[in-house]
């Protein structure tokens, strides 16, 4: 089996960098475009994200998630940091738009990562309000306060919906390993 791109980067293989850009460049760019206010900001964000990817390549664990999901995670962390600093004022989608299934995109989701496919299925099982909060926070990048103001919902309730929704999806993805191990030892 070919060594993962990130593993090769972690071992100092410079040739793997070009492959990294070719494989994940479009993904990172698309995520940045979604969460940044303009193209210039998105370009700056992408540069920062790739440096983060190279620095953290040694932390990739293929047993835990795919490279695509790992890269998306690093991208998200950087984009959230930037959003918190700029305090963007975005538009809110209606609940109907949020709950509408991305029905034409299942094939693309499968291509993107297996975890994304599983996450899409798990999201369907969430309560509408949990799904809405997660969509607004994760997909659209709103802060909890912005969501609370927009939905006229107490801040604590927004956080509770997000937490419970994430816990449920996390369980569906089989990612709650540490907690499960702790329960065994309790």
């Amino acid at each position: 089996m070919a060594q993962a791109i990130l593993n090769r980067i972690a071992s100092g293989d410079k040739a793997a960098v070009q492959e990294c850009l070719d494989t994940f460049g479009g993904l990172v760019w698309s995520l940045a475009r979604r969460m940044c206010p303009n193209t210039n900001d998105a370009e700056d964000a992408v540069q920062e994200i790739f440096i983060d990817i190279w620095k953290n390549a040694n932390r990739f664990d293929a047993l835990q998630a795919s490279e695509t999901t790992f890269v998306a995670m690093i991208a998200r962390r950087r984009l959230i940091d930037r959003l918190r600093k700029t305090q963007r004022q975005p538009n809110i989608d209606s609940l109907e738009d949020v709950l509408a299934e991305p029905s034409n995109n299942m094939n693309r989701q499968i291509e993107i990562s297996a975890e994304a496919n599983e996450a899409a299925k798990a999201m369907k099982d969430l309560r509408p309000e949990q799904r809405q909060v997660l969509h607004l926070s994760i997909v659209q990048g709103f802060s909890h306060q912005e969501i609370a103001d927009a939905l006229e919902m107490p801040l604590g309730t927004v956080k509770t919906h997000a937490r419970r929704g994430l816990l449920q999806v996390r369980e569906s993805l089989g990612l709650g390993n540490i907690e499960n191990e702790e329960e065994k030892h309790d």
Binding site: G12, K14, G26, Q47, T69, R84, A119, V139, L166, L167
Partner: protein, 293 residues
Amino acid sequence: MTEKERQRMLELLADQAAFGLNDEESAELRMYMNQFPEWEDDNSFDLTAAAIGLAHLNATEPLPENLHKRLAIDAEQFFDSTKKARELLSSASKSEETVGGFTPQNVGDEIIAETKSPFWQWLGWAVAAAACIALAVNLSLTRFQKQPEIVQEPKTIQTPTPELTAVQKREQFLASAADKIQTIWTEAKPKGGEISGDVVWSNTKQEGYLRLRGLPANDPNKETYQLWIVDETQNEKTPVSGGVFDVQGNGEIIVPIDAQLKVIKPKLFAITKEKPGGVVVSSPEKIIAIAKI
């Protein structure tokens, strides 16, 4: 780990993945990570959020060509600097001397390989740490020069230190104040959410900053804004003055807090509008904005 601690840890990890954490929450999470290092590498919530984000990614756009070229240059520089750091560490490890209680190789291992800190907090410190390692190694090597230079007439050139801006001072404060607290402003009499921003404060440093947006400009000849700090240990009717300030434009302002007395346990910050120069005692009716701890 108690059940209460575990629940709080899960809350913080979930909040971090969904919304990000403020400084206080980040500090709390770091405290838990220090106490329970088995959780340090837990990426499960972040991976879950990433998977959800990917599930809603309708299409991917190709990376622009100019950006691709810039990234290739970034990669070259990144890998060159990493290689140099490794070489420095490798040459230093041949010496048996230690620097500052650490062997350079061990410290390098901490940076290049796994760390004990959560990786999202390690990110920003890795470059600074590598620079410190390079400096420490350089010092250890130069200590063993057989013919050190003797400077006969050291010349000191004093260069003026540029004054930091309020933004820079605030950032420096945020980076250095371990006990900082933060809260956000709300209008005392809401008129549509014009005033926003935050307050950060450190009891240890007795230093803090207001950051405000939407506060109307004032005529300094007629009035001024004054900050008040309500301390739990003092009478509410006589809060501590945090200084006066004026607002000239419409953008964001950052104001250093100038507490007239020592603040022990702040529970509320308030802004009033007063006569020029401020007052010794104000009244609740003049409160324009408050920020509760």
